[in-house]
Amino acid sequence: MSEALTAEADWTIAEAAARQQSLLLALESQFEDLAIDASGIESIDSAGLQLLLALRASLRQRNLGLQLLRPSEALRNACAIYGLQSELLGEP
């Protein structure tokens, strides 16, 4: 696995388009599972979560996996509300 990508702080709708662009760039050259260091995510809303899910769907199309490492409190919280802990964070 290549080095983990570092996630930006703002994953709200205001920044969603920008996040999508950088994720797409990362995706272009991705031939193995993608790891993202999620410790820096300070705020995330439904648009941000949706991006992560879309990213995972894209990776899956290529039979690749997504790992969100060291999820921040904000990310954990959002995942908890959506019941996505196991799906996205690999937590029980």
Binding site: I13, A16, A47, Q50, I81, Y82, G83, L84
Partner: protein, 736 residues
Amino acid sequence: MTDDDAEILAAARAGFLAEAQEMLRLYEQSLLVLENAPDDPEQLNAAFRAAHTIKGGAGMFGFDAVVAFTHVAETLLDALRDGRRAMDGDCMDALLQSRDQIETLLARIDDGGEGEGDNPDGLLPPAAQQLVERLQALMGQAPAARAPVVAPAAETAAPAPVANQRWHLSLRFGHDALRNGLDPLAFLRYLAQLGAISGVRLMHEDIPALDALDAEACHLWLELQFDGARSRAELEAVFEFALEDADIQLLEPGSTPAQFEALVERRCGMDAGLRERLYGVWRELGVQFELIETLLTPPDESAQAVTLPRIERRHEGEVHERGPDRRSGEGERRNGGRDRRAGDDTRFVRVRADKLDTLIDLIGELVIAGSGAQMVAHRLADDAAVEASARVMGLMQSTRDAALGLRMVPVGETFARFHRVVRDVAKQLGKELELEVLGGDTEMDKSMVDALADPLMHLVRNSLDHGLELPDEREAAGKPRQGRLRLTAQHEAGHIVIEVRDDGRGLNRERIVAKATERGLIAADAVLGDAEVWQLIFLPGFSTAEQVTDLSGRGVGMDVVKRNIESLRGQIQLLSEAGQGTCTRIRLPLTLAMIDGFLTQVADTFFVLPLAVVSECIEVPREALRGGDRALGTFDLRGEIVPWLDLARFYGMPVEAERRRSLVVVRQGQSRIGLLVDRLHGEHQTVIKPLGGLFRHLKALAGSTILGSGEVALVLDVNGLTESARLEAAQSGAKR
């Protein structure tokens, strides 16, 4: 930027500013309701929504200061909404001040103080900054640490969740939900405050792959289970302002398989794969498709195996029975939604007032021209032409009514602003009172509503200041400590009647008479009825308040109010009972521009009466025939004494003695008067043109109008006539 762009932008900006004013009004209104009912989630939602809309709009135009400030207020509201902070007096004051501050910030934009890019940092003026700090302090600081919302929710959840309190919610958010500022997360957080979300499943299979995704479009569909003894209305309130951007289906505990089936149908249609997926999700969530069966059989795969086919079977067999069922349920939901949001979900088209005025002017001319055509048709005695012109006139009348209707706005908007005034003034004076508004949806001409605002404000302040007693005084007088102020509006025979009623100490007859005598307004030995005494208050320079307060009694007295009302062709009247309260009643015509008139003729002059006030036309009574040269007198109308007025003599016109004349009985409010005219011409569409400044002093005339023939007719002002008749009678009585 081209000129066109600049123009469009300027128009959009003006639109935003107008909308923001409306939102501020709603914001304030909701806050004031909240003050008395702090637990009303709908009002919190409404306030939140209003703030949010302002913020969104301001963001679009780059008014960063407004965005930054409103955001803080919104955050506090959000905290109140999901129970992280309880509403109290401090909060309320700060929020109300935030409203004023937003208004101030918006005013700066309006003045051109802050434009796009003008204030890139969104720096707030010091006053706003202080308020921001206050709002943040109220939040208990650090909205970032929003952390465990779901967990504590479980603690606050009502009694231990049992199966029969388990709701099933299916939320499908529309594509624009995120763009419109709705975050499904926020709804879930809020929902978690009302009970416990026992299971949630995001149907993320619908989210496209990253390269196909529009990052700002919403693809979220949630199926969730919620435990809590809540009513449908309470849950609907949670999603109230998502209704436009989401399809929210709430299945209450113990819903029948048919209801779940309807939901499947709604979500998946005939897509078998999707159906299977949804069943799978429900299975995971432990949805009880059929309560009895799951209770009897353990919730494992075999139970589902039994349940599923059952649903499918029903689907095949009972299509027809189910169809209307589902639809009616849907209808209920929609209707429910509409009712709750009544008032703010109506869509508006913003039209410039001058365009509207031009249209109404044109229609006015059209009506006049139409009357002319009709007259010609009658003269030609061509049946076909008469019929055609009658049809055109009919349509024209409808057009006229519709056009006038465009200018009609509910009075409620004017009334609503009193809530704040009443609150603030009452606080300042140490009085307790409740403001009740009835008939706020009664409509009247916009220009009149605007013109009415100041006089009404004066009356309300008067009631607060002079009418209502202090709580202790009220208690001593055996009344509840809390005073009551009631504003009502209603229609009455082509007029609108507005009342300001308080249950205060009432008018003091002796003091008014004493003051009027002292000022030489009445003779010392004058004998006056109550109504006449009350009318004295409207005389210029009359003020009875012993103490000139900050609020009223600044010399701009009731005479100004009366003049304002009269300039609207209205009438003002006071009713009062000592110790019981005072009622000010204002009668106003619905519109200033056009009326259905009743055309009469005296000598060569045409007079138009508003049709709405004409109650009957009779032969000239004997009393009037015997009247000789007198211009007025009284006659017996079926046992009732009614004054009559001879228009010819009143206006000093030649009287054709041998002519058979008629008497038109008009009624305005309580008073009636018979008007003697030479000829009756019947109904006539009248566009009232104001009289020139020269004729303003002619009290009994409301304006003029042009007949189809090009002749001028005078529009009679019935109030004015009654008043002049009364004065003249009083004078001639005094002379005798």
